[in-house]
């Protein structure tokens, strides 16, 4: 029997039972020994209690989606077992906490996690009991776990190491006493480059800092809060400022104020906060002030699904304010792109002198993933063109970008959110509104970059996901390719403006299929507005796509299109 390339372990229980730590610990151990790992978590919007689950996907090659089904389910209570048993793969195994007995039988066994941990000498080793059992089920050498324990805990004393070793042994023993196996995992191929184990939100923070962020003002909101926490801890040097504001309305106006004063400024929020920021983003567009707004999308509208994932803020992000505007958008699709996207957003804002939206999403924000160590030397911080002349400058003169004066130096003007003349004074003249509107839109050209992914470009039908749906879509695409389906692949994290050459290519396609997590098919609609024959493949469950579902839906949509083409 061929060895497995990957497996998925899901831990399900109550909030506060250590479910999150379990999957992260597994991911770290696996990555440490050379596997690729990616976690996915979803939890209720409360601190303790409520059904919580997280999972880790461990693979011999880089993976970008949570996968199709669950190979091992660790159920910490009956409700968790009942909820998740449907997601088990055919040969999946359930390990349940002995505090309950499932009312069905099959490939499952119970373990008293806490009792075994106590017997091992430390109640905190319950996770390691699970790990020992898991390692046995997938044929992962126990040595990996033992090495991890020694590396991690030896500095804290031999007693902790011994307790963890015992806990692992208990887990192995119990699993070995059953006859269940889910197939041995291929040995890891350790990457020959340096790696980082990092969450999407932290990657965004580091990317923005690498590009020279000076000022961060934000208000707590799931799932963007970790960015605020990161900045409060790290953005504290001379000339830097990080602050928790009193509202999102204050956040946006504050970063506009800082951007006006010559600083690189950013805020991060989620749907409800982003909606509140609308007017302020419009101000930054109108007055031509560089700033970055990170929107970590969750389910909406209103309070919506605070701790679930969705890609339903695209239309809002394009025009968050009233009036004519089209805000630049970067939507990272992987944790690695969160890093490069964070830096690019800061650079774009400086380059075109206006607001830029970085559109992330819950599944990326909370995901822990091993990625190649981000390369700081690849980030070249851009600085806005500043005015260096004498007083009497016409800051808003002409139909294109012009150097921006910095307070404290000659060139005083009024940055104005009302329509204005060249010096920034309010005016209602039609000729001025025409000039300024043209000027504001012309600057988008400065952000056109022909950077995008393309593959098998001769195929008449293409798949083009955006944002976090990139991972599942790519996996589905690879499987379809292996089956011999002729499809092209396109992807870009630059959503607005889209790379012009990409658009040229897309317009030539018979059909462009767009997997996206919303009801309206927002990106497909945006592509159609650019003359692309795009059709959305939507899902609005609050969860990411499963690759196997996408395989079927892409295949169905592609064959329906081909049939139509033949009958015409």
């Amino acid at each position: 029997m061929a060895k497995r390339q990957d497996f998925v372990v899901r831990f399900a229980g109550e909030g506060g039972q250590g479910v999150v730590t379990a999957s992260e610990a597994l991911a770290r151990i696996a990555a440490d020994v050379g596997y690729h790992a990616l976690t996915f978590s979803t939890f209720p919007s409360q601190i303790l209690g409520g059904p919580t689950w997280t999972q880790a996907r461990i693979s011999t090659t880089p993976v970008l989606s949570p996968g199709d089904s669950v190979d091992v389910l660790v159920a910490l209570n009956e409700e968790a077992y009942e909820t998740h048993k449907e997601d088990l793969s055919e040969d999946g195994v359930v390990i349940y906490d002995s505090s309950f007995t499932p009312n069905s039988s099959g490939r499952m066994f119970g373990m008293p996690f806490d009792d075994l941990a106590k017997q091992a000498g430390d109640i905190r080793t319950a996770n390691m009991v699970m790990m020992g059992a898991l390692a046995n089920l997938v044929g992962m050498p126990v040595k990996f776990l033992q090495d991890f324990i020694v590396n991690r805990y030896l500095s804290r004393g031999q007693a902790i190491v011994d307790a963890n070793m015992k806990a692992i042994a208990f887990g192995v023993e119990r699993a070995a006493s059953t006859t269940f196996q889910i197939g041995e995992l291929e040995p890891p191929i350790k990457p020959n480059y340096k790696q980082a184990m990092i969450r999407g939100n932290d990657a965004i923070s580091i990317g923005a800092l690498a590009a020279g962020l000076d000022v961060y003002v934000g208000y707590p909101i799931s799932p963007a809060t970790p960015i605020l926490i990161y900045m409060e801890r790290n953005l504290i040097g001379s000339g830097k400022f990080a602050y928790q504001s009193s509202s999102e309305i204050e956040s946006i106006a504050a970063i506009v104020g800082a951007g006006y004063a010559g600083k690189k400024a950013m805020t991060a929020t989620a749907g409800p906060g982003f909606t509140l920021m609308g007017e302020g983003i419009g101000l930054a567009w109108m007055a031509e002030i560089p700033c970055v707004i990170v929107n970590v999308q969750r389910g909406g509208p209103a309070t919506g699904l605070p701790t679930k994932t969705e890609q339903s803020d695209l239309m809002t992000a394009l025009t968050p304010a009233h009036g004519d505007q089209l805000i630049p958008i970067i939507a990272p699709g992987t944790v690695e792109e969160c890093y490069y996207g964070g830096a690019l957003a800061i650079n774009w804002a400086e380059r075109y002198q206006g607001p830029v939206v970085l559109l992330s999403e819950h599944s990326l924000a909370e995901r822990v993933q091993n990625i190649p160590k981000p390369d700081l030397s690849q980030i070249v911080p851009e600085v806005r063109a500043t005015y260096q002349g004498t007083n009497g400058y016409q800051r808003y003169d002409g139909y294109e970008l012009s150097p921006m004066p910095v307070p404290g130096k000659p060139g005083a003007y009024v940055a104005n959110g009302s329509e204005h003349d060249a010096m920034g004074d309010t005016t209602h003249l039609p000729s001025r509104h025409i000039q300024m509107t043209t000027r504001r839109f012309s600057k988008l050209k400065l952000l056109e970059e022909n950077v995008y992914e393309r593959e098998n470009t001769d195929a008449p039908i293409a798949v083009m996901p955006w944002g976090g749906s990139k991972g599942p879509a790519m996996e589905a695409y690879e499987r379809l390719k292996a089956q011999g389906t002729n499809l092209a692949w396109y992807y870009s994290m630059r959503i607005n403006p889209l790379p012009p050459k990409l658009l040229e290519e897309l317009r030539k396609k018979e059909l462009v299929l767009v997997p996206e997590l919303n009801y309206l098919g927002q990106f497909a609609s945006f592509l159609r507005s650019h003359g692309v024959n795009a059709q959305a493949i939507t899902q609005y469950t609050g969860l990411p796509f499963r690759p196997k579902d996408l395989v079927n839906r892409i295949k169905d949509a592609a064959s329906a299109a081909s049939r139509k083409a033949v009958s015409v």
Binding site: D32, I236, S251, A253, T426
Partner: protein, 288 residues
């Protein structure tokens, strides 16, 4: 940024109190700059939306920087500008509608932070630019276009409110005395911390109360403003409390807190206690 700009089509009504406030602000900025030997372009005026906000376009002479933003958000914009660039002198100009109605939520947080900006509030007790609706400082029962049968809300006492939330410098001014008002504004700029100079600045079109403010002996009208008594101790919060709750409105410096650090001073202190990690060092935390 000059009244001679032909494209700029906004005008204050004849007799508007805001003319006097503009003059006072010009005096204050000039004196502040010459005293501290700093250039005019190191000052930033953040203006609200309403008649008062247009002040930023009407300043004569050497020009400070200006920001004419959106309704109610002068303080958050000033907050970002000041904390990004503590070297700038940041002045907020706004009206009673902008500052005390839509923007009220931003006042108390800045008082708690003791943000080092000076706010010049032009209170005419009415929404002028939208043609005469009631504002937080319109008296209870007054008939306006939006309260055709009389205002149902009690009027706000702004000075008492500022005192209650801990604003560290509070002054009360009158637009018809631009020289005196200029001195109050300059004192507000000199104050290290959050300062508000609240100015009675009548609207000749929708709420002409000049006569009530300064009185008219011939008609037997007693003035409702009075100068803060010389013996008033501006550091005495209790005395300030009595003063702002008097039957008439005091004009002068009401209150100044002593020894309260500003937000940028607090931040500087924090920097001394915390180790700053470079981006490279931060990244290493995640590397395995």
């Amino acid at each position: 940024m000059t009244s001679k700009n032909p494209e700029y089509d906004f005008k204050w009504c004849p007799g508007c109190g805001d003319f006097g406030v503009r003059r006072a602000l010009e005096f204050a900025l000039q004196d502040f700059c010459s005293y501290h030997e700093r250039p005019m372009n190191s000052n930033v005026i953040v203006a609200g939306i309403g008649c008062s906000g247009n002040l930023v376009h009407l300043v004569e002479g050497e020009q400070p920087y200006g920001f004419h933003g959106i309704h109610g958000r002068t303080l958050p914009i000033a907050f970002g500008a000041k904390m990004g660039r503590p070297d700038l002198n940041v002045v907020v100009v706004a009206g009673d509608g902008d500052f005390l109605s839509i923007g009220l939520e931003h006042v108390a947080p800045q008082a708690a932070r003791n943000l080092d900006v000076c706010c010049v509030i032009m209170d005419n007790g009415v929404y002028g630019l939208t043609k005469g609706q009631s504002s937080p400082t319109t008296d209870l029962g007054v008939i306006t276009s939006s309260t055709p049968y009389g205002k149902l809300e009690s009027d706000l006492n702004p000075l008492d409110y500022y005192l209650s939330i801990g604003v560290s410098f509070i002054a009360s001014g009158y637009s018809s005395k631009p020289k005196d008002l200029g001195k109050l504004i300059q004192a507000g700029m000199e104050h290290k911390g959050f300062s508000i100079v609240h100015v009675l600045s009548p609207c000749t079109t929708y709420n002409d109360n000049y006569e009530q403010l300064k009185g008219n002996a011939k008609k037997g009208i007693e003035p409702i403003i009075f100068d803060v008594p010389k013996e008033h101790d501006i550091h005495d919060r209790e005395a300030a409390h009595k003063l702002v709750n008097a039957a008439k409105i005091p004009i002068g410096v009401i209150y100044q807190a002593q020894g309260r650090p500003t937000l940028d001073q607090r931040l500087e202190d924090l920097r001394g206690r915390v180790k700053v990690r470079s981006v490279q060092e931060q990244l290493e935390v995640f590397v395995f």
